[in-house]
Symmetry: C2
């Protein structure tokens, strides 16, 4: 199996650091050329499923512009330019919850859009979390920090209460990783 090749790329929308759109000229393995393939660039991000020493999952009840109603959500945020994904995950956990964790396990790195690119999602499981400071996050959205036991998290995931795709991914992968222990 041969990959598609990017022959050339040009920016067709430069909105801000939050969104750039390119048009790619692509060559297929059989030689055919696709002249105007849209490619979307938004910031890479982390999500962190943090579990305390007494096995409580730290999640938010929050609003997001793209989400209808409120949703449960793990810790998360954009990776700063040049920032290491794990460092971003640790920073977001501390900023948003005031917690630090003793054991960090990667749950993988995923391309959000198989066709359009979109962003890379870096997902983490943080074990042994404990509160070491007050939260300092200044996100625009309302959010409320909750501590939930595994059965409640499993039920919420199955009921669709984690309404955003990467949040559901991180929580599902965390539950699978923990059940394998």
């Amino acid at each position: 199996m041969q990959p598609w090749k990017t022959v050339s790329r040009k920016t067709i929308l430069n909105h801000s650091k939050y969104l750039v759109v390119e048009s790619h000229t692509i060559q297929l393995p059989d030689g055919r050329v696709l002249p105007d393939w849209p490619w979307v660039i938004t910031p890479d991000f982390v999500n962190v499923v943090a579990i305390t020493r007494d096995e409580q999952y730290l999640v938010f009840r929050q609003t997001k512009y793209g989400i209808e109603g409120t949703s449960l959500a793990p810790v998360g945020g954009y990776i700063e330019p040049g920032e290491d994904p794990l460092a971003a995950a640790q920073r977001e956990l501390l900023e948003e919850t005031g917690h630090e964790a003793s054991d960090w396990i990667s749950l993988g790195e995923y391309q959000v859009g198989g066709n359009r690119g979109i962003a890379r999602a870096h997902l983490f499981l943080a074990l042994g979390a404990q509160e070491t400071a007050a939260p300092t996050a200044d996100d625009l959205e309302d959010q409320q920090l909750l501590s939930l036991g595994r059965p409640r998290v499993e039920a919420a995931l199955a009921a669709g209460e984690f309404k955003c795709l990467p949040w559901a991914t991180a929580v599902a992968l965390a539950l699978l990783a923990k059940s394998g222990n």
Copy 2:
């Protein structure tokens, strides 16, 4: 918790049916206004984790433009305009694998982008799949259909072999749903 309100919206890039970008003017609950919030519209899609009567998971080894190298992937594709998500899932399973399934279970509906929108992902678990026809998919990408047992799927997921976010989500949710049976 109050939602953010869309005051107005305008199209700033109308690329094709595959990509439209809008700029939204948003009012926050405290009255502040965000004048130029980028909002990305790409087609809603389905992914289907199909399991045969003898408990084999139907997955592809495939290339995708947005993915480096090859990846494992469940069945998936765009929902046609006006098409019911379940009908799209059943159509994609038949087109891509030649299989039909006796039991369809929703694994949920998720917004891909909490901030930018992007698309809605409709994820399904299809049980009792059996071959009833030859595959007819005409996707541009190379793909090879595989039948894998659960342990191999679990190991592949943990090893990051499902490289695209919705594919990992669907597989993780399917494994959790099946383990609860």
